[in-house]
């Protein structure tokens, strides 16, 4: 009998193993519940891709961007507005994974881990989501992009509110296209929000980062002069400018966007310090977020590849890749005395927070450069902006600091056009970045996009 009793302890072990399994199941449930709920076949939220009972989405001026009528998901009445906001709002599918209707689907459907989806309709609270966007500005930027692939972001560098976020190519969420082998070229990358999810060769806008490195690590940078005769030979490979800029100071070289000078500056700084500065400014970092939406990792690394590539990397070529949102954040840091405000797109009205107990990811601001370096970069960008203003660039008549970029992307392709910067105005503290793929010169292709958005925002 005693022996049997001892052996019967096996039943305990079996039971404990079972309990451990139950706990494991519980943990899985806690971790994955939102994912598990968001399935197209889920009867509680079925029809219209699970959005039949979802809340409305508003922009900052209470313009309704998405709503339901008779269990059908409907979007803004104007087609270009719909298309300009596709990547932010999303459509009925989960194809655009960074869209609010994907990222915040559980919030929109009123789901919570505690109450599940079983709340009677009369008791369902307000599961609407308000965005910080201005839909008019988005539409204006979208129209200015004019069908070319690209992105435009404008955000308030004091508060972090994203005011304009538009990405092309796009389609109409009310009438989604069927993407087939025949037309997939037209829709290449259509599910990506280029503002947050894509990276592009930065070209001359990267000179902001090179300048930051130079200011911080070359003590006599302001007393040096740089002579440009149109071409700089590094290890048998020539870095060229469009024309010879002659002898210039550091500030003049920045305003002229002189490749020869900046190639030399990058070599003076050295690959390690270049990389360290770029990383402080958010390159090689995959943890940046906009309201919980991950921002694609920008790339900079010219260590161990030789002087020639280092020189090229200093002018935003080589393997450099920059994300538009990050470029706007860097401009925000310059405007703010070294600290970039963290961007967010979902209005944090507290209601959502209380009701669902889910903290909206409002990350901390990012310290990028010292106040002193920021002041120097500010001056440099004001200098280059003056030359753009002289060439007719106007952002609703406001003072601005900026840098254009024209990034070469290979034989037979037009360059990628960039325009990044910020407005110097207490009432309109906007940082911006626009990218136009195969757009040509930055000053010609990218500035009108930003200008269109800012004009809408100011008026």
């Amino acid at each position: 009998m005693k022996r049997i009793m001892t052996r019967s302890l096996i039943v305990w072990f079996v039971s404990l193993a079972f309990l451990a399994g139950i706990i494991f199941l519980g943990v899985r449930l806690v971790v994955h519940n939102a994912e598990w709920v968001q399935q197209p076949y889920n009867g509680h939220i079925a029809s219209s891709g699970g959005l039949a009972k979802a809340g409305k989405i508003y922009d900052r001026n209470q313009v309704t961007l998405a709503y339901n009528e008779n269990d059908k998901r409907l979007y803004h009445p104007d087609q270009s507005t719909r298309e300009s906001l596709l990547h932010v709002v999303g459509d009925n599918t989960l194809n655009i994974s960074t869209a609010i209707q994907s990222m915040y689907r559980t919030n929109l459907t009123g789901y919570s881990f505690i109450l599940g989806l079983g709340l009677p309709e009369s008791l369902r609270g307000n599961s609407d989501v308000t965005l910080t966007l201005d839909s008019d500005a988005c539409r204006a930027a979208y129209n200015a992009l004019g069908g070319r692939k690209g992105a435009c972001v404008v955000y308030n560098y004091k508060t972090g509110e994203v005011l304009c976020d538009t990405s092309t190519p796009s389609y109409d969420p009310s009438n989604p296209p069927e993407i087939t082998e025949g037309n997939e070229k037209d829709y290449d990358g259509v599910y990506l929000d280029n503002v947050v999810s894509s990276t592009f060769t930065p070209g001359s806008v990267f000179k902001i980062i090179t300048s930051a490195a130079a200011v911080e690590s070359i003590p006599d940078i302001y007393s040096q002069t740089f002579t440009c005769n149109g071409s700089l030979d590094v290890e048998g490979n020539a870095i060229t400018c469009e024309y010879a800029h002659g002898t210039q100071t550091f500030s003049e070289a920045f305003a002229n966007s002189c490749n020869c000078a900046f190639g030399e500056i990058a070599m003076q700084v050295g690959s390690e310090k270049m990389k360290a500065t770029a990383e402080k400014l958010g390159f090689n970092n995959n943890s940046l977020k906009m309201s919980g939406i991950p921002i694609a990792e920008s790339h900079y690394d010219a260590t161990g590849v030789g002087e020639n590539y280092l020189a090229w990397s200093g002018i935003g070529q080589h393997e450099d890749l920059a994300n538009p949102m990050l470029m706007a954040m860097i401009c925000s840091a310059v405007a703010n005395g070294g600290t970039a405000s963290s961007p967010y797109i979902v209005e944090d009205d507290g209601k959502l927070l209380d009701k669902l107990g889910i903290a909206i990811n409002k990350a901390n601001n990012v310290d990028m450069v010292s106040a002193d370096t920021a002041a120097r970069l500010h001056e440099l960008m004001r200098g280059s902006a003056n030359s753009y203003a002289n060439r007719g660039v106007s952002l609703a008549g406001l003072n601005f600091c900026a840098k254009t970029g024209t990034a070469e992307v290979g034989e037979g392709k037009e360059p990628t056009a960039w325009f990044v910067g910020f407005i110097e105005d207490e009432a309109h503290p906007y940082a911006f970045a626009a990218t136009v793929v195969e757009g040509g010169y930055g000053i010609e292709a990218a500035t009108p996009v930003v200008s269109a958005a800012i004009s809408e925002l100011v008026n």
Binding site: S8, L9, V11, S15, L25, Q39, G43, G118, P120
Partner: protein, 574 residues
């Protein structure tokens, strides 16, 4: 406006009810468990054995005691002429017996060599080897005995009376019925009708148990009523006919329960029936193989006059019967070999039918029983190797068998095919239910095939919330802990083994069920004890519960009647 606010009041009350039920379920499970820990006979020796030569006194604590030289013997005699396992001293209704279990030099009572079970009375002399043991009364030994963590102390506050427990459970089912009445799709009062019929059955069972059969406690039955009733109420809004079938099966289960408890009152009776039980079980499986019809890849159903029966469910009960035995029978080789052959036949037949889930349950239970009987890890390892070999053969002859489990671990890539269709829906609807559920009858999992049987854990999670679902799992674990705790006081190794293994079987089956449908283990399609729809499964669960009930020595103890109470009171006055 008035209409809207009325709607809100109604919605709020239904929601409040839903939030209340999970806490309520936890209270019930706790109360059943707490009641099980109550009442315990003071642990004092039943009799004493006095070694004649030295005068040393040995307490006899159990109803069945092994006497021998080996360390694990209940009564250890250090005498080289005594075999390692010499004989068994056991107590039955008729008195005390000694039974030789193949010792080298035999066992003698008052000088005469024994053959089979030999009755001994107080002051009889039992001789093993050169040692003579004299049977004395239990009171002649005084020693403090170690306490048990499981049973509460006599001084502890008493737990709920059985009838109060039943009232608690009745209200729980009533609230479920009310919720079902206000379900989103259908609003009528049939749930209350089913509820009424069900409670009638349960209270009748309670009354018969306590007044006609004089059973002292009821917490095991209460727990089973709680779980079975929940299963019935969940079925009401799914398929009324199944709910009625389930209710009838529950009543039949209760009858089977009572019969088995009565049948194994005398553990020796089982032994004389053992062969017939084996033949019946093998016969059932044979009939199943010949006449079985294939359903969901397994031919484990037979149709008798329009009623589908799953014979393998009843074989589970036979399996426990055959596996367990009294201590003196346990020691014989023949008994064990018979059991091994019987197990191999059962597992083989089930695998042949394609019912791998049940085959796995049988195999795991076989390991449990084998371990409890022999304590020999060699046997277990041998069995595992044999099983691995068998699996290998099956897979090389029928490679498509493995396909049935191929989606395991990545069901999310199989949301629309049979590999993962059920599992992903279980998980989605589990999460949709949240902690408190969407309400009885409001779920969507009920439209998925087998939701009421194999997927019922998901259905409970969705409609009643994860807390209730986990409380059910906790109830099954509590059952196993209880089964193990009572073995310390059970009257025969037959009860100890059968209770532990019946509980172990239920835990293993629950694990295969719950973890199978949530993709932690491969989906094998077994039922969740008591809750899953299916008459055979319901009856078999009540049958298995009978083994646990029988292991509790309180079950067969005479109920204390009024005169006894009066006596005690008088004692107090004096």
């Amino acid at each position: 406006m008035i209409g809207i606010s009325l709607q809100i009041i109604l919605d709020v009350s239904v929601l409040a009810l839903r939030a209340l039920l999970p806490i309520y379920a936890l209270v019930i499970v706790y109360q059943c468990f707490a009641s099980a820990r109550r009442h315990r006979r003071p642990e004092k020796p039943l009799v004493t054995l006095e070694i004649k030569e030295t005068g040393q006194k040995i307490p006899v604590l159990f109803w069945e005691n092994s006497i021998g030289r080996s360390k694990g013997s209940d009564i250890r005699v250090s005498d080289i002429s005594v075999s390692r396992d010499h004989c068994v001293l056991l107590r039955r209704k008729e008195g005390w017996f000694v039974s030789d279990i193949g010792s080298k030099f035999g066992t003698f009572v008052n000088g005469e060599e024994t053959e089979g079970r030999t009755k001994v009375v107080i002051d009889d002399e039992i001789t093993v080897g050169h040692t003579t043991l004299v049977l004395k009364r239990g009171e002649e030994f005084q020693e403090k005995l170690r306490p048990s963590w499981f049973f509460s102390k006599a001084s502890d506050k008493g737990s709920l009376k059985p009838y109060k427990l039943m009232i608690l459970i009745t209200f729980f089912h009533f609230f479920m019925a009310v919720e079902a009445c206000f379900s989103n799709e259908i609003k009528d009062y049939t749930p209350l009708l089913i509820f009424g019929a069900m409670e009638l059955v349960m209270w009748l069972f309670f009354c018969i148990s306590s007044y006609a059969l004089n059973r002292v406690n009821f917490e095991l039955e209460a727990l089973a009523c709680f779980l079975s009733g929940m299963g019935v109420m969940l079925l009401v809004r799914q398929e009324l006919r199944s709910a009625i079938v389930q209710l009838i099966a529950m009543a039949l289960g209760m009858i089977v329960f009572a019969i088995i408890v009565k049948f194994i009152e005398n553990p020796d009776r089982v032994d004389s029936w053992r062969l017939w039980i084996m033949i019946a079980a093998v016969g059932l499986l044979a009939v199943n193989i010949i006449f079985g019809r294939v359903q969901n890849g397994a031919a484990n159903w037979i149709n008798i006059g329009g009623i589908s029966v799953q014979p393998s469910e009843f074989v589970k009960i036979a399996f426990i019967f055959v596996g367990a035995a009294a201590l003196d029978k346990l020691q014989t080789k023949r008994n064990f070999i018979e059991f091994i052959i019987f197990s191999a036949v059962c597992v083989g037949a089930l695998a042949l039918m394609g019912d791998f889930g049940t085959a796995l349950i049988f195999f795991a239970t076989f390991l449990l029983i084998a371990l409890m009987r022999s304590g020999d890890f060699k046997t277990i390892i041998l069995a595992l190797v044999a099983a691995a070999f068998a699996v290998f053969i099956v897979l090389s002859i029928k490679p498509y068998v493995a396909d049935r489990f191929s989606a395991w671990g990545h069901v999310w890539q199989h949301t629309q095919d049979s590999g993962g269709y059920q599992q992903v829906r279980v998980m989605t609807y589990m999460a949709s239910g949240g902690l408190i559920g969407v309400g009885v009858g409001n779920g969507f999992l009920k439209y998925v095939f087998a939701s009421e049987s194999d997927l019922v854990f998901g259905l409970v999670s969705e409609e009643m919330g994860v807390i209730v679902a986990f409380a059910i799992a906790a109830a099954i674990v509590a059952l196993a802990f209880y089964a193990r705790a009572i073995t310390t006081r059970s009257r025969s190794t037959f009860y100890a083994i059968s209770a532990c293994c019946a509980a172990g079987l239920m835990v293993i089956q629950s694990a295969l069920n719950i973890f199978g449908i949530t993709d932690i283990l491969p989906l094998t399609g077994v039922t969740l004890p008591f809750l899953s729809a299916g008459g055979s499964s319901m009856i078999s669960c009540w049958g298995l519960l009978a083994f646990i009930k029988a292991a509790d020595e309180r079950t067969y103890a005479a109920k204390r009647r009024a005169p006894a109470n009066a006596l005690r009171r008088r004692g107090a006055v004096e």
